[in-house]
Amino acid sequence: MVTIETPRSPRTRKSANREKWAWLFMRASGVVLIVLIFGHLFVNLFLGEGIKAIDFAFVAGKWANPFWQVWDTLMLWLALIHGTNGMRTLVNDYSEREGIRKFLNASLWTVCILLIVLGTLVTTTFDPCPDTSVVDALPQFCK
C-alpha cells in the first residue's frame, strides 16, 4: 500500500517564551530609548553650537556629571541590545542555512557584548582630566 506523505521540515519548537520576552523588550526599550536618544541628540546636536561644539572637553564636561554618565550608559546598553536583537530578527528571516544563521547570530552578540563592556568601562572609569600632553584638549575645569 502506498501512503502519500506530506514532506515538510518540522518546525523547531524550543525556547518557550524567549521570543515573547524579546518582543516585549523591543517595545519597552524602544519607549525608553526615545527619551534617551532624543535627549542625547538635543543636547549634543541642537543646543548651543551643536556638532561644532563637540570635542573631548565637551564630553568630559558632560561625564563629569553622574547624571549624564548614567544616561549614556543606559542608552548604550539599551540601544545595543535593542539593535542587536533587531539584527537577530533579520538574520533569522533571511539566512537560509542553519550554520550561517548560527554564525551570524553568534557574531552579533559577541560584538554587542564587547561593545557594551568597552562602552561601560569608558563611561564608568572615565577621567575628565587625564594626564596628557595636549592640555588644549582638556576641559576648562582641569586647568
Binding site: 518557550a16 521570543e19 524579546a22 533571511y94
Partner: protein, 249 residues
C-alpha cells in the same frame, strides 16, 4: 417606480473590451524557468479575472492550469497575485483594474509552484492543523451548550475564514522561509481561543508562543489588506499576542 424603467435599460449594457493578460506560466514537468505569457481576451463589463482565465483556457490554451470552484468568493480556491496583490480571481472585476495596462496574473508567493497558478498548499494546511483548529471541551452536554450573543460575537470575525491563503502568502515574513505559522493559522486559532465553549485556549496560546508563532508578525498589514473576507487579520493577531502576554483570552 418610474425611475426603474430608465435605469433598467442601462443595467447590463456594459460594453465589451479587449484586455491583455500576462500570466506567469510554469510547469515542473518540462519548463526550466517560469515565464510570462501574454493573451489578448475580449471580456464583458461584468467579467472577473476568473472569467478571463477561463476564456484563455477554453478558447486559446487548454493547458493553462488554475484552481477554482464556487466562482463567487466563498470556497477559497483561486487566490492569486493580480497586478501585484493577492486577490481571489473570482472576486476581482476586470473593469475595476486599470485596463489600459496589461493585467499581471501570477501564483501566490511563498509556496512552491506546481503548475502555472497552482501552488503546493500543503505547508499552509499543515500550519492550520498545527494550531488544533477544533473545539476542545471536556463536558459531555446532552443538549446544546449555552453561549450568549455577546460571547458569540467575540470571535465572529475569524469564523469567516475560507482558508484561501491570500493572507499567509502576502506576508513578507512568510516569504522569507515559510516556517512562520502565518496569519491564516493564527486567525483559525483565534476563532477557538476566544470561543467561550472552548477549554484549550492555553494550549493554542502555547503553540503560538513559539519561535515561529505570533512574535514573528511584524505588523505589515499585507494580510489584512489581502483578506477577501474582510477579516481584520492583524487585529486578530494582536489580540492573540495580548492573550499570550496576559496568559488568558
Amino acid at each position: 417606480m418610474s425611475t426603474a424603467v430608465a435605469e433598467t435599460t442601462e443595467i447590463g449594457v456594459v460594453p465589451s473590451f479587449t484586455v491583455t493578460l500576462f500570466v506567469r506560466r510554469f510547469s515542473k514537468e518540462d519548463d526550466l524557468e517560469a515565464r510570462w505569457e501574454d493573451f489578448d481576451v475580449t471580456v464583458h463589463g461584468t467579467d472577473r479575472v476568473l472569467d478571463a482565465l477561463h476564456k484563455i483556457k477554453w478558447e486559446q490554451d487548454g493547458s493553462l492550469s488554475f484552481r477554482r470552484s464556487c466562482a463567487h468568493g466563498v470556497c477559497g480556491s483561486d487566490a492569486m497575485r493580480i497586478n501585484g496583490r493577492n486577490r481571489l480571481a473570482c472576486k476581482t472585476l476586470i473593469k475595476d483594474l486599470d485596463i489600459t495596462e496589461p493585467i499581471y496574473v501570477e501564483p501566490i508567493k511563498g509556496l512552491e509552484v506546481e503548475k502555472d497558478l497552482i501552488v503546493n498548499m500543503e505547508p499552509f494546511y499543515q500550519a492550520f492543523k498545527d494550531v488544533k483548529p477544533f473545539l476542545i471541551a471536556t463536558d459531555k452536554p446532552k443538549a446544546e451548550r449555552l453561549q450568549s450573543p455577546e460571547e458569540r460575537a467575540r470571535f465572529d470575525m475569524t469564523t469567516k475564514c475560507i482558508l484561501c491563503a491570500a493572507c499567509t502568502s502576502s506576508c513578507p515574513v512568510f516569504w522569507t522561509d515559510g516556517q512562520y505559522f502565518g496569519p491564516a493559522a493564527i486567525v483559525n486559532a483565534h476563532r477557538f481561543i476566544f470561543d467561550s465553549r472552548d477549554e484549550a485556549a492555553d494550549v493554542r496560546l502555547e503553540i503560538l508562543n513559539d519561535k515561529e508563532g505570533v512574535w514573528r508578525c511584524r505588523t505589515t498589514f499585507n494580510c489584512t489588506e489581502a483578506c477577501p473576507r474582510g477579516i481584520e487579520v492583524t487585529r486578530a493577531i494582536a489580540e492573540v499576542k495580548q492573550a499570550i502576554l496576559r496568559g488568558k483570552p
